[in-house]
Amino acid sequence: MLVIFIAIIASALRLATPLIFAALGSVFTERSGVVNIALEGIMIMGAFFAILAMEFVSNPWIAVLVAMIVGAITALLLGFLAINLKANQVVAGTAINILAGSLTAFLLEMVWHRSGQTDTVANALTKNPETLAFLEKIPVLGSLFSGLTPFVYLAIIFSGVSYYVMYKTPFGLRIRAVGEHPRAADTVGVNVYRVRHICVLISGALAGLAGASLSLGTVNMFREGMVSGKGFIAIAAAIFGKWHPLGAFAACLFFGLTEAIQIQAASLGLGWIPSEFLQMLPYIATVLALAGLVGRAVAPAASGEPYEKGHR
């Protein structure tokens, strides 16, 4: 039983990792007042460019960096449309999602001369990093660590850092102020546009990282459709986590856990539960959270609202 338990925890952590990065990104933008529907598209970009970068460099971490930069650039487009031009944020995000899917499909055909999927890359980041190999020697828990990828540790670290930035630094206070009441923040001298731009860039970089954790950290290749809605699930996780970095982290773990249990259902003696039921559990929880049944989830007041300077 203990073995199965550890296997489920490891599964849950691996399945939650891409969600965690993207959900943290969602927390940052929504807290600053921008709804980032484009997370899905940015993840696709990140996943693709991480693999593309591996064509030119041998160090996978450089590829991860490239994915984050491409993610940030894609997000910059959203920021420009949503913040400067005050476009409808959902429409702008949706446009980027469609663009990302088509652009990567196009580039895939240009570079690899076929569509569908890329070649596999060597030395990806799918194994427990060697510097942490000592963790595998811990009795019982060792088997847990041996199954984790570097991205899992990164996700945990990033959650902590995000919490610190959001709640323990002046910058975090500004983010929350801008998201709740941009005019008040503006009045006391906070540059609303700049704060929002920085948050959108952060979310882009995180979503790019999320994409890299899927392609480079899981299957060593990019395949069209591999993100399969995880960007949207991450948005749901951010809501379920009440727009709090640690809440979002916990929500992603919960989502990962239900998926892991669904896979292990038979060995847990839960084979009689339809897998579809376990699969919809996280979303029911999200809806309940929004409806105020599982603790009230209150969105940042100015989320989704473009801010117009000097407009009354």
Partner: protein, 365 residues
């Protein structure tokens, strides 16, 4: 003022994105994306390739194919269907055209545009075409249609179906012989009758070769989520499975990746997937969509096209197994061939549903 600019910009972006998807079909992909599969095809069909060109008179026909959302380059049934048309092109000089569907909403319009262009036959690749093709067939009664993996009851629709259970049975036999832990795994995409044919055919094959072996079966509820495929494969391997078969499209990429990292056997599906990992893909269950497309296309050329169900099974080379990487032992090949011959002669029926599997008794061959 600025609002106008934004809306213009957004509209432009959406339109561009749409074009990136929909306009592709036009003409060039006809040559480009097929380049890869074509190279594979030529080695196989080298003999067929040499003969045609000069001596056969060119058939002045246009055959259209509409992919499902997987699109060309899926290295699965869309590509396979396209290869079937490529053979027709090489042997008879027909002209082939393709329209790729970005989403399920494109099926209807794509069918209509081919029907209005009056191509000689329109292929819809995938059972998802079922409803839109039934509608199109009623709307264009003189247009010939063909659908893969599904049955549309109309006189002008040829329904190309496959005995997936028979091909899966053969790889099941191989898996049953290969496993050392007496546990093998099956990963399905979504649980519906078509995928269950794979599951129960496979289970029957395992049972035939190794009555003691247990089959662990999971469904991913997706055909795309490779990460989940890897996770399921990892779990099945931890539970003791050392040979895992998938019928789950892109999800199977995760399985093959897990097999490579953790050192167990994966069995590919639809096409030979050993090129992804020659050391870890034991063999592949083959579904010759190209053969189905080819034979129905041939009937159009010969003028004896018939609607109704065209079943492609082991008996007419429609399904089977392949081992391009050469991982199978002689013993395994001999056993697979023995069962193959028995199925081809109709010595017994391979189960395709849970009920049939439960009633299945391994025959003496």
């Amino acid at each position: 003022m600025s609002k106008k600019i934004i809306s213009l910009l957004l509209v432009a972006m959406m339109v561009m994105a749409m074009f990136a998807g929909c306009s592709k079909p036009a003409a060039e992909p006809a040559t480009e994306p097929a380049a890869e599969p074509a190279a594979e095809a030529t080695t196989e069909d080298a003999t067929a390739e040499e003969a045609p060109a000069e001596d056969t008179a060119k058939v002045d026909m246009v055959m259209g194919m509409i992919t499902d959302t997987g699109g060309l380059g899926d290295q699965s049934f869309n590509d396979s269907g396209w290869m079937g048309l490529e053979r027709l092109e090489a042997e008879y000089g027909i002209e082939r055209k393709v329209l790729e569907s970005e989403s399920a909403d494109d099926y209807g319009p794509n069918l209509t545009s081919f029907a209005e262009a009056e191509v000689d036959i329109v292929y819809g690749v995938g059972f998802l075409f079922n409803e839109s093709m039934a509608a199109a067939a009623a709307q264009f009664p003189n247009q010939k249609f063909a659908i893969i993996d599904s049955v549309v009851e109309a006189d002008n629709v040829a329904s190309i179906t496959f005995a997936e259970n028979e091909g899966s049975f053969l790889v099941g036999v191989i898996a049953g012989m290969t496993t050392e832990t007496n546990k093998v795994g099956f990963i399905g995409g979504m649980k519906f009758p078509l995928i269950e044919k794979f599951e129960y055919g496979f289970k029957a094959g395992v049972k035939a070769a190794n009555p003691d072996a247990e089959v662990i079966s999971n469904y991913a509820d997706s055909f795309e989520d490779a990460a989940k495929g890897k996770e399921i494969a990892t779990v099945q391997h931890q539970q003791g499975a050392d040979v895992i078969f998938h019928a789950a499209g892109g999800v199977g990429i995760g399985l093959i990746q897990a097999a490579e990292e953790q050192g167990f056997w994966a069995i590919g599906v639809d096409q030979d997937q050993s090129h992804i990992s020659p050391e870890r893909v034991l063999c592949s269950m083959i579904k010759r969509v190209d053969e189905g497309v080819y034979q129905v296309g041939q009937s159009v050329i010969d003028g004896n096209f018939e609607g109704g169900v065209h079943l492609f099974s082991i008996a007419n080379e429609g399904v089977g197994y392949s081992d391009n990487a050469g991982n199978l032992t002689e013993e395994q090949v001999a056993a697979a061939e023995k069962w193959k011959a028995a199925i081809a002669t109709g010595a017994f029926v391979v189960p395709q549903t849970e009920a049939e599997f439960n009633a299945f008794e391994v025959p003496e061959i």
